[in-house]
């Protein structure tokens, strides 16, 4: 338990991806079964433990200490799980000779009935150290929130076994905690686990961006072109009555889209884009799609308002026949015929784009026929369906990003290599009537600049700081003085969380406009117009 607690403590404060991977793979290497597998399940969200409500936790601690002292403590710390882990009274007699393992803790929590749950939890907290108490509380209150995705955990497993992550993704949904057979294989002690479960994820094929000069080397006759839709890439697998919708990283998202899953009455594996609307009439925007994302439950009303459908790009399997080795041209033929047999309100075919030469395609790319298109895809007619991101068969050729001139407002210190640099920038645009304009923050970006530019901005931040809040500096930014940043971004969403009402997708600094007076930066209306278009 203590090793798991220590891992959580470190992960939550480690910002770099590589650092997290090292911590995770070291943990998986040094901890034995079944603890490491249960830790893995806790991180990927595959561990089922009956949830404990915060009110119950609070009641438990109130029975044990003065409410006034608890109140002072909670006010100071601000986080219930952490406060309880710290103030939980422990008598020396409670400290057992034997520190419970993660497996013992999980077993006790899973075996607890609703009525004796609080007592079981209290006994566990009695016998644990502070860090372990925090970990136990995190397990029972649901959601570790340590900034580690299931995908990152799988990458750490891939690093551990020196295998491709695609192999792990493909197996994943056929495995259950504590994953002993998976670890045995990764450590070279056993054969690779057999794929026996139905409707498993097949690792998806990804594309590379078209770079400068790439097109000149390609023959237009070798490639099919297709719109790139701005939704979520998904894989629909239906096999032997088991229906699953996977994200492109192999997370099972079926639960969020019961309407689409219900329509998967076929036996096949399809690759496509998840969108909302009715494909026969109108395709919703990404903002519309967001109404369906990150929800615990999907109400019938939301399902009706924003029905999910799948725009199909490819077919990997029909019945028992694996089509992945066939050429795109052949798969496309199968796909066109297959989509005909599906519910037209839930599935349609992503149309091919006719073109003769790159120039003609460039025209189409610049002026796509629908706002939910973010560019074109190029796929070699003779390419098999490969795993990962092979260079050559598939390209994405995206619409040019939007840009806006914004003013630097706040800067925050970075981490690791950048810990002495102010490298995370919050920028704003003007709003309000003429004569009393104010900057309103519209986004945050921390890349897009060169090391030399970073040094320059860092110096500017240090020289023009007007206030400090911990690692954040407020930078002088008014009509007369301020640093203008050209910010590139892929799109805008409506946001109720931000004062400006907009949230940028994938913002980055594209240019430093030392030459531009702050007063000439863009206004909020420019962004709002983009939102409405």
């Amino acid at each position: 338990m203590n090793r798991f607690a220590e891992l959580l403590d470190r992960l939550v404060l480690t910002p770099s991806r590589n650092g997290k991977l090292t911590l995770l793979s070291d943990y998986f290497r040094s901890v034995e079964d079944p603890d490491r597998g249960l830790a893995l399940a806790a991180i990927t969200g595959d561990l089922t433990i009956a949830a404990v409500k915060p009110a119950m936790l609070r009641a438990l601690v109130m029975e044990r200490m003065d409410p006034v002292l608890f109140g002072y403590s909670y006010d100071y710390v601000g986080d219930l799980a952490e406060t309880v882990s710290l103030v939980w009274p422990q008598s020396p007699a409670d400290i057992a000779n034997h520190v419970p393992t993660l497996a013992e803790v999980v077993a006790k929590l899973q075996a607890a009935s609703r009525s004796d749950g609080p007592k079981v939890l209290a006994r566990l907290l009695d016998s644990a150290s502070i860090s372990a108490r925090f970990a136990v509380i995190k397990l029972v209150t649901g959601g570790l929130r340590i900034g580690v995705s299931a995908r990152l955990a799988k990458q750490a497993l891939a690093d551990l076994g020196k295998v491709d992550i695609a192999e792990i993704e493909e197996l994943w949904h056929g495995l259950t905690p504590p994953y002993a057979e998976l670890f045995a294989w990764l450590e070279g002690k056993a054969e690779k686990p057999k794929k026996t479960a139905l409707a498993l994820f097949r690792p998806v094929m990804l594309s590379n961006p078209i770079g400068d000069g790439d097109l000149e080397k390609l023959d237009p006759a070798d490639y099919a072109a297709e719109w790139k839709w701005d939704g979520i890439r998904v894989q629909a697998v239906s096999e032997g009555g088991v229906r699953r919708l996977y994200s492109r990283t192999g997370d099972d998202v079926s639960g969020a889209f019961p309407d689409l899953a219900e329509a998967m009455d076929f036996s096949a594996t399809l690759d496509g884009e998840l969108l909302v609307g009715d494909p026969r009439q109108a395709t919703g925007t990404f903002s519309d799609l967001q109404q369906r994302l990150n929800r615990k439950s999907v109400t019938p009303k939301i399902q009706q308002q924003y029905p999910a459908f799948m725009r199909c790009y490819d077919v990997l399997q029909i019945g028992d026949e694996d089509l992945r080795t066939r050429a795109f041209r052949e798969r496309r033929g199968h796909l066109e015929a297959f989509v005909q047999t599906l519910d037209p309100s839930r599935f349609d075919l992503s149309p091919l784009v006719e073109f003769t030469d790159w120039q003609a395609l460039e025209e189409l790319r610049r002026k796509p026929l629908h706002p939910v298109i973010e560019g074109v895809m190029l796929k070699r007619w003779d390419s098999p369906y490969l795993t990962g991101r092979p260079k050559g068969p598939w390209f994405k050729w995206k619409r040019d990003p939007h840009t806006i001139d914004a003013v630097l407002m706040y800067a925050q210190r970075g981490h690791g290599k950048r810990s002495s640099f102010y490298s995370d920038y919050t920028f704003g645009v003007w709003s309000g009537p003429e004569g009393s304009e104010e900057l309103v923050p519209v986004g945050k970006a921390y890349f897009g600049f060169t090391d030399e530019e970073l040094r320059q901005i860092d110096k500017y931040v240090r020289d023009n700081t007007i206030e400090r809040f911990g690692p954040v500096r407020s930078v002088r930014a008014d009509r007369r003085q301020g640093l203008v940043l050209e910010v590139a971004f892929e799109g805008l969403n409506r946001s109720t969380r931000h004062k400006s009402g907009v949230a940028m997708r994938f913002p980055r600094i594209s240019r430093l406009r030392w030459d531009k007076p702050a007063a000439e930066a863009d206004r909020i209306e420019t962004l709002q117009a983009l939102l409405d278009s």
Binding site: D66, V87, K417, F421, P471
Partner: protein, 336 residues
């Protein structure tokens, strides 16, 4: 005599009218008794200073020769008469030279503890509980959430991290007086025998600790002149926390920022400060040490200064011990 006639707060600091002296005054006074060398307790410019020899030495190092008009060294445990008031210095376990000051007059006894801790620390004399009528305690970590783990566990985590990330430098933020030397000593006691690189602000005080017989091993200046960037690969570098936000830190390869402080108990504090590896090592008493010490002194009355007074006063009330906050101003937590 009432205790509040023997010692009470004045804008300059805690004052003793019959003895005509102040304890840890924040403004220049005629006669100052100083508990320890942290800059919020030991200030320059007093006409006369009474403190332990080590505290006097530390003040001289920090402020220069003329830091006070006259000085007098107090030996630990030795009773000194000041205008009929008897004062005795007792070890406080906070930093090298730190002392509690026992003030006795007409049968009434008050102990002003300054800052103190109870965890064992190889760089200073351990705290000695002194029986008294009134115990004046600090409350820097006066909340039940502050529970310092054994410092050896924290150092073990640091060493584990250096093994996990051998390609990176570990920058340990630690205040220049006390904490820095304690961290270095803990590293040595844990068997770490590579040179420890230190920021220039630590050099004089660390030399002084070594001259007092506290072995810190080989310390090297963390300067680029003496060492190329790659030489700091896998190194442990100790410096004042403020330096790590500074351009100074750029000389280290992909550093992991660590901070040795009792505040690191709270995750949000670590996160806000951009600390990746918090080390909960404190020179102040944690909640359990504060409450244990209050009981051990047997004092019938507790005066609580600088920190989170209200929680400690509440605890005393629950225990049936009279307690009140002293509301002294001017003390920050430089030592942590």
């Amino acid at each position: 005599m009432r205790a509040s006639d023997l010692l009470h707060p004045r804008p300059e600091g805690l004052y003793c009218p019959p003895g005509d002296f102040f304890i840890d005054p924040v403004r220049p006074v005629s006669r100052a008794l100083i508990t320890h060398g942290h800059s919020d307790h030991a200030r320059s410019g007093h006409r006369s200073v009474l403190a332990t020899q080590q505290t006097l030495d530390i003040m001289r190092l920090r402020y220069g020769e003329g830091f006070a008009g006259t000085t007098q060294a107090a030996a630990l445990g030795e009773a000194i008469a000041l205008n009929g008031v008897t004062v005795t210095f007792h070890p406080a376990g906070h930093v090298l030279g730190s002392a509690q000051i026992e003030v006795v007059h007409q049968g009434s006894c008050i102990v002003a503890s300054g800052d103190y801790k109870r965890q064992r620390d190889a760089t200073c004399e351990p705290f000695e509980p002194v029986k008294c009528d009134v115990f004046i305690t600090e409350a820097t970590f006066g909340l039940p959430v502050f529970r310092h783990p054994p410092d050896t566990e924290e150092i073990a985590r640091l060493l584990k991290s250096t093994a996990q990330f051998p390609e990176r430098a570990h920058l340990v933020g630690a205040y220049a007086l006390g904490k820095a030397q304690r961290v270095m000593r803990l590293l040595r006691d844990a068997g770490y025998d590579r040179p420890i690189y230190i920021h220039g602000a630590l050099a004089k005080l660390s030399d002084y600790y070594q001259s007092q017989g506290i072995e810190l091993g080989t310390l090297e200046p963390a300067t680029v002149e003496s060492s190329g960037k790659e030489d700091f690969t896998g190194a442990i570098v100790v410096g004042p926390p403020s330096a790590f936000a500074d351009r100074w830190a750029r000389r280290f390869p992909d550093p992991i920022s660590c901070f040795a402080s009792g505040w690191m108990r709270i995750r949000q504090r670590a996160k806000q400060g951009g600390v990746e590896l918090p080390l909960i090592v404190s020179d102040h008493a944690d909640w359990d040490e504060l409450t244990t010490t209050i009981r051990e002194t047997g004092a019938g009355e507790i005066w609580v200064t600088h920190g989170r007074e209200e929680a400690l006063v509440r605890w005393c009330e629950l225990e049936g011990i009279a307690a009140r906050p002293l509301h002294l101003v001017g003390y920050e937590d430089e030592g942590d």
